[in-house]
Amino acid sequence: MSSFAYAVPGTKDEALALLNELGSGARIVAGCTNVLPDIRAKKIAACTLVDISKLAELKGIDVRGDRVIIGSLTTINELLHSDLVASHGQVLWQVGRRFADPLTRNRATIGGNLANASPAGDGVVPLLALEAKVIVASLAAEREIPVAEFLTGPGRSALQPNELIVGVSFTKTTAMRSVFIKFGMRKSMAISLASIGLMVGLDGDRVEQVRIALGALAPTAIRARQTEDYLTGKPLAPEVVTRAQEIIRTEAKPISDVRASREYRVHLAGVLLKRALEAALA
């Protein structure tokens, strides 16, 4: 008999009661694009697969006041086809076309990308730039955690075993220009060697406000705060960009792995910043 069990709750509360009861013996499954390969690779063993894919409460993209709320089961393909996301959270929409491949995008969910907490996860980078909050529920309460605090390390998050991600929310942002650049070994189905999500408000070529999120360049996706501070208020002149590149290279804290060395990734941080700023100006 299989060492796995399967349960398919019909409501969010049923799912939460089950998570409460099973604790770390439960494994939430959504799109399964991480979970099934992990089961095959024996990284996940003997547990109860709690299938949340039927929960209507975790679906849909809504606007409430000045906030955009995205259900955790929203697939990357749905993000890509959402006018709301394209106009109010453009940087998240831009990630869609660089995420995995069209077949995988039909299954992969934004909640799964967050919970997976990969340092190279592409969905979390734009959410950091959007200063999004992760909406997390347990039987006892619902709480909102800023993405920056949600991601606590490679593969680690602030999520407790009895909690599930209901969705993410962020404030509508239309005034800023957005750029997302993913640097991988090929155009499609590539794990990011480095990625950047940029949101910038410009007055001519002067930076009024800027948010820079980096992927695969530290143990979690990070904001490049010092680079942001330096750029704010300055015109995007060549010498300013060069200095910003130097600063961002000191903020990046990547590892060496099979895909790229630490030095190469640090170099990429500077290259991607320059390309992103140029794209925002164009």
């Binding site: 398919v8 089950l18 099934l36």
Partner: protein, 174 residues
Amino acid sequence: MELQNEITVSVRINGTQFTAAAAPEESLLEFLRTRAMVMDVKCGCNKGDCGTCTLILDGQPVKSCLVLVAQANSKEVWTVKGMALDPLMQALQESFATHGAIQCGFCTPGMLVTARSLLADCPQPDRAAIKEALSGNLCRCTGYKKIVDAVAAVAACQASARVQGGRCRVWKQQ
């Protein structure tokens, strides 16, 4: 709530209902190949990287090795074989053959399913859109150019058929 170590799954495969027991961690791909004996869905990598296991689930092309079979319960799947009578699929198959878009043929079922889904949604894709749509399907033999040629040729034929009164009818799921 009931925790099940063995589940019963019922899937409508190419128009015919099929029911069997399955393991909780079983993928749709494993279920099709080992229980339903549907062999035209190929298993290349079993971890989402190659696209040989592509089929249509809920009207969308997906990699079946990335779908828990329990999640396909009560749903409908279509594989390349189930589309044998579909004019658009037939046009693609013919075009793949005449363009030399098949060598060993292992990637072909998945390629065809993805290509058909693209042309049904977007009848006149340019080459960039064709490449993008097929980017989850790997081919170790052809170098892709002939595959893109084959799909582009059907797109062009569809466009002229529409002008002549729509001979290339789009296959509809029942």
